[in-house]
Amino acid sequence: MEFLPQVIFLILLSVSGFFITKSILRIRRNILLGRDVNLYDRPRERLKMMVLVALGQKKMFKKPLPAILHLFVYLGFIIINIEVLEIIIDGLFGTHRIFAPVFKGLYPSLINIFEFLAISVLVSCAIFLVRRNIIKVKRFDGEEMKRWPKLDANLILSIEIFLMICFLSMNTSDGILQSRGSEHYISTGDFFFTSFLKPLFNGLGTSELIFIERFGWWAHIMGIFAFAMYVFTDSKHLHIFISFPNTYFSKLDPAGRLSNMPEVTKEVKLMLNLPVDSGNENVAPGRFGAKDVQDLTWKNLMEAYSCTECGRCTSQCPANLTGKKLSPRKIMMDTRDRLEEVGRNIEANGKDHQDGKSLLGDYITVEEIMACTTCNACVEACPVNIDPVSIILQLRRFKIMEESQAPAAWNGMFSNIENNFAPWKFSPSDRLNWVQKLNQ
């Protein structure tokens, strides 16, 4: 019986580990449904980008207040993992504060750092909840932010607050039990922050304190296991992991450079009787542009999973600001929702199942993609280097090259370019007429 807690702990650890692994494999499979694109060049530049943008939060600091609050939560998350490691070892071996003898005199300082971070995470998350639900910061609102996305955000913040309360209660009662010389509660020296909380629990008996300490310990670690599973299911919180590879595989070219389609280059060169470059002869013309998620690149799909729904993109989008239906955030969220749906179809009905739906049409409307000015404000704004313009352009390509459904005015522009070599209806022989005016 004395090993029962350890056995229970091991079972819970394994179960959550199993589900997390399953989820990671599911996400990986979904991302790899996208078209291949080679982003393995320039590793040094990529590493630098990842260190600055993901690890260093560089782009978050365009908005100082949320950046600082987010930094606390982020540092708290990373550093408290040392504490989680201790808890896991304690849980598996039935020890208590296994790091205390290891760190000796430094141990209280270590715990003090954790406690400081726990309090700052708690306060930051509370402020975030206020910003979302009471102040109602505009960018957290919008057509795509109803129901689940809204609940998801509030759940994440509430769970984090709950975890920190567990952690702080555990340390507070532990501190009192130490001073009472309880067996099992080794003396580590005072914890600075929770010593202020002791008056809350001082009147309690030892057995009640042990219950609170144990409850806090179990709830905290079980909460972490559950939260970890939650992160990998269908939550925006996945960004805490995937923003690292996502920034590593960032577009390193100038933002203004849109991809050229090699399969088109071959056709064009043949048409113009020009030699086709070696390496381009065998580019199989698949579908031009993107109708569904499988037509996008794996990078586009990884970006859909990286989106944290913060709305910085949409709040900077000139089309959205002036009342158009386009919202870059919705483009990313729709891509993710459709990708998850395609993934579920594969699980239920096999790899080649067609459900008769597609990203363009069932999720993203033509009206949305037509409103984009390709101004790159969304790309500039995104704290994790997501590029919605890339998806919008590929959807436009499908609409225009596969379905020949351009707005009438664009068709006019196309035929002007084809016939007059300018997007307007002027005679190409008049192209130099502006010179005549110069010397009048």
Partner: protein, 265 residues
Amino acid sequence: MSENMINVPTMAELAAKGVTPEILFWVGCAGSFDERAKSITAAFVKILNKLSVNFAVLGTEESCTGEPAKRAGNEFLFQVQAVSNIEVLNAYGIKKIVTACPHCFNTIKNEYPELGGNYEVLHHSEFLQQLINEGKIKLQGGGEFKGKKITYHDSCYLGRSNNIYEAPRKVLEILDAELVEMKRSRTKGLCCGAGGAQMFKEPEPGFKDINIERTEEAIGTGAKVIAAACPFCMTMLSDGVKNKEKESEIKVYDIAELIAKYEGL
């Protein structure tokens, strides 16, 4: 040809003489055909002439870069245009291109290399900045813009697309004017609404047109001159000023026009 005649040689004329100019001035469709943008072209050519820059244009051999077609999603038409233009440019052995259009600039600089077109490409704001740095355009003091409030509108295709924020501002500095920034400037600059082939169709339904939103912001700075560096922005902002019935008091100029005026050209 008289002393005061402004000379615009074409590549074909120079090639016939066996001469290669130092730079090709890529005029672009707006700069060639659009009434308002032609003044920008004229102003820039006057500057080139005054400073005896060795340049030429393609003239009737120039053709749309394909930029609006590409952004609209017509990659095929874009590449037909691009590959044809690259054939012409490479046949003339062009090394360096200057253009007053950020859209042409971005496409030739960033999208042509993969299709076989490798050139040193400058936007005219960068080129003018170089002339200033080299002391060829000097601060003379005075001039009609001294102390006047000017606001500069960042073109997306210069700014966010290619990180060119300082060159146009450096050019404006020489005017000795008071540069007032809009709240949304540089990386946060608000688009004029013309990019991504929007120039060539009506906007989607919304409660306001993007260019009106931007013009209101520009007018809000109290500036009497709105400086642009792009023919599309020029159209959008001029329309915005007309819409607000402010065209008699607020002028929209391209940076090349401002320099030409400053130099008395």
